[in-house]
């Protein structure tokens, strides 16, 4: 009796598919949302609760818009709209 049975290729594929979620770039979908450093309410969606910038693989933003987001977030941090870290106080 075999100790370990390997799942057939079809099963493996199906299991993996469960966790794949299709994410799309919010800014490509809706061109009315502008990336602006003066809008901390919008930028807050793209930082973690500790204040770090969320990676592209979590938010689904495209490379072009992620670069613009990064610029906007670092500018907002300089003018104290967004925190560098939430433990500073």
């Amino acid at each position: 009796m075999p100790r370990f049975t390997r799942p057939s290729k079809g099963q493996d594929f199906q299991k993996k598919r469960v966790y794949v979620r299709k994410r799309v770039c919010r800014f490509c979908q809706d061109s009315s949302i502008a990336i602006d450093y003066k809008d901390p309410k919008m930028l807050k969606h793209f930082i973690t609760e500790r204040g770090k910038i969320m990676p592209r693989r979590m938010t689904g933003t495209c490379a072009n818009h992620q670069r613009k987001l990064k610029e906007a977030i670092s500018m907002a941090r300089h003018i104290a709209f967004l925190p560098f870290t939430t433990l500073s106080r």
Binding site: Y37, K38, D39, P40, K41, K44, E49, R50, G51, M75, R77, H78, I79, A80, F81, L82, P83, F84, T85, T86, L87, S88, R89
Partner: protein
């Protein structure tokens, strides 16, 4: 010539007279350097996302300027010598930019704060 956005954070401890005197000095400096003010806005006292010079709040002022690129360093040097200015930032914007209609909304970041204070 191009358009620039300028945000200044003043110390919240300033009295009204001090603020107005400072603002008139800032406006005079703009004139001296050859920058024309297109829009001026008072964003009132807001909570800072982190303390600057041991201050938790700051009084924000917004200017939309039209000037030459060479004036940037002069304006930066002018702000550095004034004590009640906590932060300043100048950003180049599009030539048709008209500036925001209203100040940005207040956002809270103290989800973790309660645990440590």
């Amino acid at each position: 010539m191009g358009r620039y956005e300028n945000i200044i954070i003043l110390s919240p401890d300033c009295s009204k007279e001090e603020e107005e005197e400072l603002l008139s000095r800032i406006r005079a400096n703009f004139e001296k350097t050859g920058a024309s003010i297109i829009k001026e806005d008072d964003w009132s006292i807001r909570k800072l996302a982190y303390p600057i010079k041991k201050k938790d709040k700051g009084h924000y002022f917004f200017f939309l300027l039209e000037m030459d690129e060479s004036n940037l360093t002069a304006i930066g040097k002018f702000y550095k010598n004034i004590d009640p200015i906590l932060r300043h930032m100048v950003v180049k914007v599009d030539d048709k930019e008209k500036g925001p209609d209203k100040p940005p909304e207040h956002v809270l970041f103290d989800e973790l704060e309660g645990e440590f204070s």
